[in-house]
């Protein structure tokens, strides 16, 4: 997770570098440390350092790290020639390295030579079956080929060992959502909530999945999670506010005829509605009419 101060620092540095203020190497180090994906910038500024012999040699042994970083960024930007050059140079200075071998396999993957890349990856895994990066590459490759069920299979295999890796759980959850396998997605989101109970995004996604699943119980749970998102974000999350409204009206529809829900829930809805109206008035006054009709239709149905 990138904290807020780190992000502002990163943006400040990026701005400075973009406007020719120097500090490119510091920026690249920060990108590497925070593991953020800003491939285009990395490619641009990294290459500017690498092409300048004086700057490059002043890095000392860090030069090779930069080559690796630039190679990966280049693959991300589909500048395969640049990546190829970087990897060739790396290979020349580290003929035996597995790390360079991994880059070569990634280059194959970027070219779309799936079978060869797969072969390379599996040979790496045979040597070291616990290489997390390669496991993840395999999942990404299956996804890139459109082989979603294969990706799920690889991910499940990966999670069997590295079950505390929440990023992998998140990926799996998103894949399940895209396949409309909501029950499985709900499980993954529960896992995410467990590992990071204070991140509102997980609560929100879980609530969305539960709402989509439907059924009285799920709807009530979904509403609770929307409420928790509101609490965690201080009422700033529009999606959660809408979610509360939708859930309340859906619950009202389902529970019609049965004993009414306690009054507090409808109070929450009206509060959410007013919060929404207030926010729309402030930020998008021209769309306010759309909102009021939408809210009205929800209230009519309840």
């Amino acid at each position: 997770m990138v904290s807020k101060t780190e992000e502002t620092q990163l943006n400040r540095l990026e701005n400075q570098v973009d406007n020719g203020g120097g500090g490119a190497w510091e920026y690249l180090c920060l990108v590497r440390k925070l593991k953020v994906r800003r491939s285009e910038k990395v490619l641009k500024h990294g290459l500017s350092i690498l092409n300048d012999i004086k700057k490059r040699s002043s890095l000392g042994p860090d030069e090779w790290t930069l080559y690796e970083q630039v190679a990966i960024a280049a693959m991300d930007c589909q500048c395969l020639d640049v990546a190829k050059d970087c990897i060739r140079l790396l290979r020349k200075s580290f003929p035996e390295s597995k790390r360079v071998g991994r880059l070569e396999a990634m280059l194959l993957e970027a070219k779309g030579a799936w079978a060869e890349a797969e072969k390379a990856y599996s040979s790496f895994l045979e040597e070291n079956p616990l290489d997390q990066v390669i496991h993840k590459r395999r999942v990404a490759m299956a996804k890139a080929q459109g082989n979603i069920s294969g990706a799920i299979e690889w991910l499940n295999k990966y999670l069997e060992i590295f079950m505390a890796d929440h990023d992998a759980w998140r990926e799996l959850a998103e894949i399940y959502v895209s396949l409309q396998m909501y029950k499985q997605a709900a499980f993954c989101y529960e896992e995410l909530i467990l590992s990071q109970p204070t991140v509102p995004l997980h609560h929100l996604a879980y609530a969305d999945v539960l709402y989509t699943l439907g059924g009285l119980e799920n709807l009530q749970t979904a509403k609770k999670y929307y409420a928790s998102v509101i609490d965690l974000t201080g009422g700033k999350n529009i999606r959660a506010l809408f979610g509360i409204n939708l859930c309340t009206s859906a619950i009202g529809q389902l529970a019609k005829g049965r004993n009414k829900e306690d009054k507090e829930s409808s109070e929450l809805q009206s509060l959410a509605a007013t919060a929404l109206e207030k926010d729309y008035k402030q930020r998008a006054p021209d769309k306010l009419s759309l909102l009021t009709t939408a809210l009205k239709s929800l209230k009519v149905s309840s």
């Binding site: 499980f187 529960e190 467990l194 609770k224 409420a227 201080g234 509060l271 919060a275």
Partner: protein, 246 residues
């Protein structure tokens, strides 16, 4: 109390400073030697899996109140049911860590390397200090201390009348041996410095048994009382929104 002992400045020049310098140099040298001898070991899949399992179970325990009761019960069952729960270690499989160590020559080899890089220089320097500098007072610390520090500061001098704030050369050696960590982390970088106290702790903690921690995790998971926190959140959300509406 006798008058202050006067320490010859030659002692400072020929004992105190050389001793400290040698200790630092040996520490640096040892770091590089151990770096040379370190073999990159492939971690065992089972151990990693158990570590991850413990993290996940701990997360479940810590954040249990954030998921619905049904989901929590399903997970708890998955972790700790008697038949094939993940946290249950079958009785027969509990392997003695010691036996495992001897069955795997790599492990023993690794440990021996670590020990060699630690014990050999230590014995040598200790012998060296003992031979050249034994039995004299090397320094005086500028504040008084109680008698209890005598064994720490005046190792090698058996005089009960000397004031405790005088430090014998052998004690100075020990102080250096254990107290140079901060300096090493300056010279060698944060993570690289590993002082002897830490090494010793590692040694004593070697017979660590993962199955035990799995069992402990299972027990604490079993006694977790699930109390779903989410219903409270509705009221809290209301309060938040009310505040916003004002």
């Amino acid at each position: 109390m006798a008058a202050d002992l006067v320490l010859d400045t030659a002692i400072r020049d020929w004992v105190l400073i050389p001793l400290s310098v040698v200790m630092v140099l040996i520490g640096v040298l040892r770091y590089f030697v151990s770096k040379l001898m370190r073999s990159n070991q492939v971690p065992d899949a089972k151990i990693i899996k158990e570590g991850q399992l413990i993290i996940r179970a701990r997360n479940l325990r810590a954040a249990a109140n954030f998921i619905p009761p049904k989901s929590f019960r399903a997970r708890r069952f998955y972790f700790s049911n008697e038949e094939n729960g993940l946290l249950i270690v079958p009785k027969g499989q509990v392997q003695n860590a010691q036996a495992q160590m001897f069955s795997d020559p790599n492990m023993a080899m690794d440990m021996m390397k670590k020990n060699l890089s630690m014990i050999i220089p230590q014995t040598l320097t200790f012998a060296w200090v003992n031979f050249f500098f034994s039995g004299f007072v090397a320094a005086k610390i500028p504040f008084p201390l109680t008698q209890r520090f005598r064994s720490m500061l005046q190792n090698g001098i058996d005089l009960s009348t000397v004031d405790v704030s005088y430090v014998s050369s052998r004690s100075w050696y020990f102080l250096n041996l254990f107290g140079l960590r901060g300096l090493f982390s300056l010279i060698l970088g944060e993570e690289n410095a590993m002082d002897d106290t830490q090494r010793m702790m590692q040694m004593s903690g070697f017979g660590f048994d993962p199955s035990k921690s799995l069992g402990a995790e299972k027990d604490s998971l079993d006694i977790v009382q699930h109390d779903w926190a989410l219903p409270k959140f509705e009221h809290r959300a209301e309060a938040v929104l009310k505040k916003l509406a004002i």
